[in-house]
Amino acid sequence: MGLKEKILTKSLWVFHLSVGSCNNCDIEILDCLTPRFDIERLGMQLIGSVRHADVILVTGALNKKSTPILKNIYAQAPKPCFVVAIGTCPCSRHMFKDSYNTISALDEVMPVDLYIPGCPPKPEAIIAGLAKLIKKVTRK
């Protein structure tokens, strides 16, 4: 385990990106910052600009309109930057699978480091997922 990974995983700044969600997953992400769950104690912080991001949390089903924007935003993020798919929507397109507008799941567009399924996933599930991400990164 390198020092670099250790520093990185102790101060993950998360950027929250909705590419067409129903807003439920977004609310669950905000729940993680509330007194009960408080991910700031793990050094995580919700930040405003993707240029500062270490983790991009993607929620919602990708559609024709948002896919190019998502690619653009991912290209702007300074590497190393991890991508987390939150909710069943970005993981597998969920119930919008047969829609004319949702052409692909998230991992067909860009590399995804972690999938957190659920509709919406509980805050506990999101935190457990992020803990798994940290384990995965530090073990590499």
Binding site: I7, L8, S11, D38, G48, S49, R51, H52, Q76, P78
Partner: protein
């Protein structure tokens, strides 16, 4: 000769210069975050979080937006950092070893303006609409808070017998008690606390970096080490700005170094506590409200303070 030089380098770089200010600033920033967390019944980050955040920024990639004015974009954080480093070294020297304090408050005021100026220039050079909004807000805010701070400086200068040398101000207070005790000194410290709040961009005066409205505003295009330099200069200011105010207004007469460190730590804690209380009981002000607060409430208060100081109160 060699001894003298190495001693000077030690005092400027390690104690009580840059490294010491940096460490204290990091602790102060963490304390402010931790207190905010406790106010909201959260646990809050561990004590080394500020340093970890900084270290992480230095291992990230630097991205430079297309169309940005590259040179200005890159040197802005560096100049901002070096100005604050110089400022912290001079202020800490002045407080802990009064004999070396040759700088006057005008130089320090000038060094304090440089970081804000280069934050604005960096934002303008990044060619981003939201950065422009942030820079415009920071410019307006600067007009407000620098004016108020100059008023409180004038109060201090009048009270210490017209001297603008840091060492004279310290000596005057060591002999006659701190300025804070008098009515005009109290007004000056009130103005200065709001000045710290606005200068460091803490709620309610964080409209230039408003995360939720304009996505980090002036900082939006900065990433990696460049952002790290901006944050490092903010970390330095977190300690040296309160220390400057303490030097101007609240010097406790004490001769030995440990006593001085103890008093400074105590006063610093009180300042951080006040700042985080103001932060947590206020929402973000609109730029118009902030300007009218500084110009139409604090400035008249400051002018009353100047009159009181002239009367010797």
């Amino acid at each position: 000769m060699i001894m003298g030089i190495s001693r000077a380098i030690f005092t400027y770089l390690i104690f009580p210069g840059i490294a010491f200010s940096f460490f204290m600033g990091g602790i102060g920033w963490w304390l402010e975050r931790k207190l905010s967390a406790r106010f909201q019944y959260r646990v809050g980050p561990p004590w080394y979080q500020t340093f970890l955040d900084l270290a992480k920024l230095f291992i990230k990639e630097t991205t430079i937006p297309t169309g940005a004015v590259k040179t200005l974009f890159v040197i802005s954080p560096l100049i901002s950092f070096s100005a604050t480093a110089m400022f912290s070294a001079i202020v800490a020297q002045g407080y802990f070893f009064q004999k070396n304090a040759v700088a006057d408050v005008i130089v320090l005021l000038y060094l304090l303006i440089i970081p804000s100026l280069f934050i604005i220039l960096g934002a303008f050079s990044s060619r981003n609409a939201l950065a422009l909004v942030g820079a415009a807000r920071e410019t307006k805010l600067m007009l407000a808070y620098e004016f108020v701070f100059i008023i409180s400086l004038i109060i201090v200068i009048i009270k210490s017998g017209g001297s603008i040398l840091l060492s004279d101000i310290i000596r005057y207070q060591a002999q006659n008690g701190m300025h804070l005790k008098s009515a005009s000194g109290f007004i000056a410290i009130t103005l200065s606390i709001f000045y710290i709040q606005a200068k460091l961009g803490i709620v309610p005066f964080d409209m230039a970096e408003a995360d939720q409205e304009i996505m980090a505003g002036t900082m939006i295009e900065y990433s990696g080490p460049l952002l790290g330099f901006f944050r490092a200069s903010k970390t330095l200011l977190y300690f040296s700005l309160p220390l400057f105010i303490i030097t101007l207004l609240g010097v406790v007469p004490g001769d030995t170094l440990p006593a001085k460190i103890l008093f400074v730590a105590l006063e610093y804690l009180i300042v951080i506590l006040i700042i985080s209380i103001i932060k947590n009981i206020n929402p973000r002000a609109r730029i118009k409200d902030a300007l009218s607060f500084f110009w139409f409430f604090l400035s008249p208060l400051g002018i009353i303070g100047i009159l009181l100081a002239l009367k010797g109160m």
